[in-house]
Symmetry: C2
Subunit: 337 residues, 2 copies
């Protein structure tokens, strides 16, 4: 190739930055959530001691790699996108599990593991009979992400840098988050962000409002998160607030589908039917994977939303937040023409 | 209570002794097994280096506690039996996962973990589209089981001591295995054993023949294992050989059900239908759980076999070799009256 521009094979579709977490999944009753004062559907941060205390009360578990942005990136890899992930593991067995799993899907993952301090992050995912998940996360080594871990060259070469709101919790990770956004924009790239969780929004509302207005090109939020962000009670009011505040906002509404707001345009899409609904863990993460896959393939926002709904419908039919099947095949077989 | 005999609550139904393993499950194609020279349905022992080499070639995995006798014991606990397990973990994250999971089902598990040497055993379970599993096991810390780990008091107080043939592989475990059998018989208790795997039988045929004739009261074997034990080509010939050689032999035949040989009696039972068949990992282990549950409840051998078939039918409808649901409820709802 004599072309002076960067060769195509060097360009990443998406680089994700987030907490590097191994999920610990188990079934619980609604009564158990009540006894433990856990709010269904939420994510709470816990220290190592509280994580161990809760774990000891749980029945048999299954371990599988998780992490919000990491799930999205693994989904994108399964769709055939060229992707990378930045997140901090400890060099322990669970860290090795996380690294194996994300690399095995074809994701570039080169963040240096910690060799001292807390162990790899884990998230206790409690699944109730209604397929809802309630999460208690011990961030562990994920807390150690700093600006030193941000591979600015990688970000410069990625069409989209995707960040999870959860990353706002660890102190140094916030700075790393900001560095990544500045780097992406300086290279003329797009920044996408997921609000992650209504409580996460509650903790950082002012900062997130500022980010949404000034630094995020694609904002992903579910209904509770966007209501919390704008402190309104009705979804329609949130849509009004979003208009003109975010460049593009992608609002997911579980079984009600999604609404995409771009300038004055509002695109409303039905959810793709899923049966059986076994575990909703990762629904938002995999919606983002489908959407971003379409986005990096220059599809219309409507088609991006359809892809997001489709991929979300796959992940909720089985346990865990990583795809069970090849999503590229799934998309080809199920995407309306 | 003024009764001079040992109080009932002190008696265990079954104590299992086996390798303490964390399973690493993933889907593979038939071609992959071929490329890796792996024989479908078999278990091969691998060293740490070969386990790592194979793991690096696998896609995304799920970790869950396994081990043949450990699965049986977890199944018995879920059925409501009073059970204990003896097996060797390392004091590492995977060992903690194993210990948590088996204890969480109500199993007494007090074997001292190793603090140096190899890590907790793991078994790479490769699931093909036909729901068959092919296993590569790195025994790791399981190899360290010795006579010191055999809680003879526990065995004396258990109606049945259940041993897996796989335990014959680690050098010192074989002695522990023999000590457990002697202890059980000295206390007037029963000894049950699973042949585990046709290759395992091939490695130790003469010793297993001797055990079957002289030291095992209940022998569990699947079709390939019993053919290998007696070096015959037809199941009917194996049944003839079994008669008068084993006290009670329980021969499982996958979708063909099971045959129980006791003295001159031969009881033939159909398999319980299972749908969908997702992963046959643990079918034999959970058959043994159902059978032994009936046995310790003084049910007829026929009813024990029916219970075995029923419990095996549950485990193959989902991934992993540990029960997903409360088996006591499942048995009550599905046992023919």
């Amino acid at each position: 190739m004599n072309d002076a521009s960067a060769p195509t094979h060097d360009v990443y579709d998406v680089v994700g930055i987030g907490n590097a977490i191994v999920d610990v999944l188990t079934s619980v009753s609604d009564d158990f959530l009540h006894q433990e004062n856990l709010l269904k559907g939420s994510m709470q941060l816990v220290d190592g001691h509280d994580a161990a205390r809760l774990y000891n009360k749980l029945g048999q578990c299954v371990e599988c790699s998780g992490g919000s942005a990491a799930n999205t990136i693994a989904g994108l890899a399964s769709l055939g996108a060229k992707v990378a992930f930045i997140g901090k593991i400890h060099n322990d067995q669970m860290g090795q599990v996380f690294a194996h799993d994300i690399r095995s899907t074809g994701v570039t993952f080169n963040t240096l593991p910690t060799t001292s301090g807390p162990s790899t992050a884990r998230c206790l995912v409690l699944i109730t009979p209604d397929a809802q998940r309630t999460m208690s996360t011990h961030l562990g080594a994920s807390n150690s992400l700093t600006c030193d871990d941000i591979d600015t060259d990688l970000i410069t070469r990625s069409k989209v840098t995707y960040l999870e709101g959860y990353l706002w919790d660890p102190d140094d990770a916030k700075e790393a988050f900001m560095l990544a956004m500045r780097t992406a924009h300086a290279a003329g790239r797009k920044v996408a962000m997921s609000l992650s969780d209504p409580f996460c929004v509650g903790r950082y509302r002012d900062e997130f409002l500022h980010l949404a207005e000034h630094q995020v090109d694609l904002l992903f939020a579910n209904e509770l998160e966007i209501l919390s962000l704008y402190q309104v009670d009705h979804f329609e009011d949130a849509v009004k607030k979003v208009k003109g505040h975010c460049e593009v906002a992608i609002l997911t509404r579980s079984e009600k589908g999604c609404v995409i707001v771009s300038g004055d345009d509002v695109i409303t899409l039905s959810a793709h039917p899923a049966h059986p609904v076994v575990d909703t863990t990762g629904a938002g993460d995999l919606f983002a994977a489908g959407f971003l896959y379409g986005y990096t393939q220059d599809k219309s926002l409507r088609d991006c939303g359809i892809m997001g709904n489709l991929i979300a419908s796959e992940i909720i039919t089985h346990r865990g937040a990583r795809p069970d099947i090849n999503l590229k095949d799934f998309l080809e077989q199920n995407m309306p023409v």
